[in-house]
Symmetry: D2
Subunit: 299 residues, 4 copies
């Protein structure tokens, strides 16, 4: 099937993204930009943010690896030297490397469908969906449509850890780098979150922090809200309390019953989750103090 | 100063609005529409809603009083006869009668300014702002600009009821039919809400039910939300828990600190409150089971 | 695969939708509602609209067929008798009858994927996608995923009518009741529109009437707009000039180049087209004087 | 009357904003940031944009003047030296200097009211509204409320240039630095635009480039659009063709007649114009090739 043109400039060229954060102080921008300039790198894109209340600096810088004769190793070692005096925490991401994600779902197909379709058409940058895991068998046919391996990991209500161990094993075995909870109707235990060493993005079907927990659409209807929303966030041990990556809302009216809210909500859930996953895969998200800096996409 | 053309068709003609609600059953629409048709009234507008979960019927019907030779008394008495067998709760509103509102504020001027400006230019239908009350003196000059009487009712921290009694007295004395809390930073006591016999609309500077209570912008910033909102609702004894009339949101980013959220929020607060007040004054709102049916404006 | 609960109340029960329009005059509501009431039908939902500038009345009324012992024939014949004296133009739609749609696309998969996924999961009411037609072969695999017949109808540049005749033949052969142009990059000729006797919905990748015709994203970028949009409309002989069913927009910035606008635009196109198709299939759209009355969904 | 806390960080401290643009090439960021760093300036905020299609670089950099012992003259002369080799076009703005604006209006008060209220409460940064000019007398009382001088400059239909000359004279006499057309229903002639040497911002009551010229709401109604919008742009000789600074929209329905569109539109016009004026006054807008780079506000 026809794939789109590259999902973004990141895929089109041999680029690297540096994500940088440190306590705010003079000279960071000058020092970092000088580092790349002196080695001959072309800076393709540069975004900064200073959190004045936390006195913290954030930077996202994209360089064209083909613009300078410098190995990955030299580049990373060199940057280490710059980072230390400023107490910079940083990560570097090479856009040519494919990224493997695993999707967890339960029974509702819309978010899964949407993500698989986006991965298939090239709307997500350089991504490979390695597997789909569900605690129920119904979504197998959806995964099969896109030729993605599907695993049904049933939950033993007497020992939920059994299933979690199985899930972690599958994610590791497939070298998954990001787990996406696409309407996965289970809470990950603190133990699982400790063991799992990759980021996990969840879509919550409510406008957090309103309607944390179960049954948000019914509670939204009962409260008589005039807009409903969805929230994509990184999963932390605090239920629905992790750093928010993306939110959106739609207007509803008194005419919309609980089922109408659910129908409207499904579209918001799909798009909000897709945007959050895309932001993560494009290395636009940095987390500090449970809040997410999400740099704009552009280009 | 130039006033707009009539704020809506309601002001332009000699109309009456009937708001009707009853348990849902067959024949209501046929009966009600026959009542007006048989007396020769032209039905200018008719909106209905059935809350299927509560099995309750709502109707808003606008008739042209000039289209039939029938006194107000005859009309009201006649409709009483129709209403009884269906257990209809209803109210009738004559659009030619001006509506008196009172505005309560504290120190922030934006909502007050916005409402006074709308009343002045005819953007609110047939309304007269009878007075402005504040627990602080700063906004007197704003009221003075629009030649609206201003009353500063200071709060005695040892006996808050004193001030509330004073406020209620002023509202009564000015025959106010709707009180609008335009960033009035005080919680009305249960006693006051019992005594005050007019509806009260409040603007809450958060997207309810998120961030009920104090300091919503700081808490929104701390939670790292990606959208902020405001909520206009009728005041009930439950703090920020009354029926929601209108909500809206704006997108924010990690770049927005607490003060930026406040600045953005002010615009949302003004517009959301204005829309809610307008909906009330146009007799488009009906409340049942703590939820508000808000019929669309149109025309 | 798991299907959702019924897409709306229309699918769940044995309902009929009446769409009614006529010149505005007294007594229409009373007469129409009396017609159904006297035959014992339960009116499940009733929406009205009066276009004051055109002096025209519109009504959508949903009745529960199981609530009265009356055959389809009796119902339709009876309503004919009511309609004539008011010069009512009307149509009746029985929700139990499945609706067959045909999708035309070219190379871009996102709208096609979205519609097939919605039809598959029950998000569109009681619909069957009978076939997919394209002037290119690339999307065959997408149709195959959902086991929908795919036809590649190549265009002979010397005689475009050949392909149009082929397309019309296929739509007839499959008894298609609605054709959906899901990013079909061809203009239907006046002849084809004359011959095709079913409604056709198109998605235009611009906020009409801005950017009619080709290349809207590039022109939007050149004009430096701060929001881009998409428009779903019924196709008429006037290019991009048919009645608008649905529009939506997203905010963009100077950072977004043409490709970024296209990426953002794809999501708007998918959702706007889906909403328009759903509105049509739920019998919520009436057209008069090239403008579409689109009743709200609710329930 | 109570003023808000400073409208932004720019007002609170002794800051300068540099706006910089040049053809894109290596080393700009490194050079510019080194310039300020070496002189000891604290960079409070830094935003960049590269227009890849035009191969052009844009930068907005805010420095804290109190963080280094350097006179304005030294600073400007020094930066000139840096700018030349890169062909940088630049401007520097000192936030401590108040900015004088002039507002032109005709009869509709909403945008004028909104701007005066924002200037009064400190919502616009460090601004002084020097005068209001209208071609009609009705808005005098609005200006008087805020103690702003009002001038009625009538148009002689036989010689429109007379009035334009009068207006330009008034703007010069009051040392106005920005003219805002707040629903000024006159087209400025090419001659006037040549003579006036300050930027002019206009609010157009349509979603440009749709509905350029007169009567946009009626035309929007006739076209049956489902959203209406407003557009703030710099005025150029091409009618409604200048660089767009801000746009926004609201959803409308078939229920909204022309007057309802106008009412809804007024709120959009006010907010869109206010945001554009604020962006300009905060030195966040740069124009190149008839498109506006509008940096985000944040902070």
């Amino acid at each position: 099937m026809k794939r789109y043109a590259p999902a973004s400039m990141q895929e089109a060229r041999n680029l690297a993204v540096f994500l940088i954060t440190c306590p705010d102080r003079k000279g960071i921008v000058a020092t970092v930009s000088a580092f790349f300039f002196e080695r001959g790198f072309n800076i393709v894109h540069c975004q900064q943010h200073t959190d004045r209340l936390e006195s913290r600096f954030f930077m996202r810088i994209i360089i064209d690896l083909d613009s300078a004769p410098c190995s990955r190793r030299e580049l990373l070692d060199g940057f280490s030297g710059v980072a230390k005096p400023f107490s910079i925490q940083w990560s570097a991401h090479f856009c040519a490397d494919p990224q493997r994600i695993g999707i967890l779902a339960t029974r509702e197909p819309h978010c899964l469908h949407d993500l698989l379709s986006r991965a298939d058409t090239g709307d997500l940058p350089n991504v490979k969906v390695s597997l789909v895991i569900s605690n129920h068998p119904e979504l197998e046919s959806v995964a099969a449509r896109f030729s993605v391996p599907f695993f049904c990991c049933r939950i033993d209500r007497n020992d939920r850890r059994l299933q979690e161990t199985e899930v972690i094993g599958l994610l590791r075995q497939h070298h998954v780098q990001l787990a996406v909870l696409a309407r996965y109707m289970q809470v990950l235990s603190g133990e699982m979150l400790n063991e799992i060493t990759i980021p996990v993005i969840n879509i919550h079907h409510g406008f957090l922090p309103a309607f944390e927990g179960a049954g948000p659409y019914r509670r939204a209807w009962e409260r008589g809200v005039k807009m409903i929303g969805a929230t994509a966030h990184y999963v932390t041990p605090q239920l629905d309390g992790g750093p928010i990556i993306e939110q959106d809302v739609e207007r509803v009216t008194h005419e919309d019953g609980v089922e109408a809210l659910q129908r409207t909500g499904r579209d918001i859930e799909s798009i909000v989750l897709a945007r959050a996953v895309k932001a993560h895969l494009e290395h636009r998200v940095m987390v500090h103090a449970n809040r997410a800096v999400v740099f704009s996409a552009g280009a």
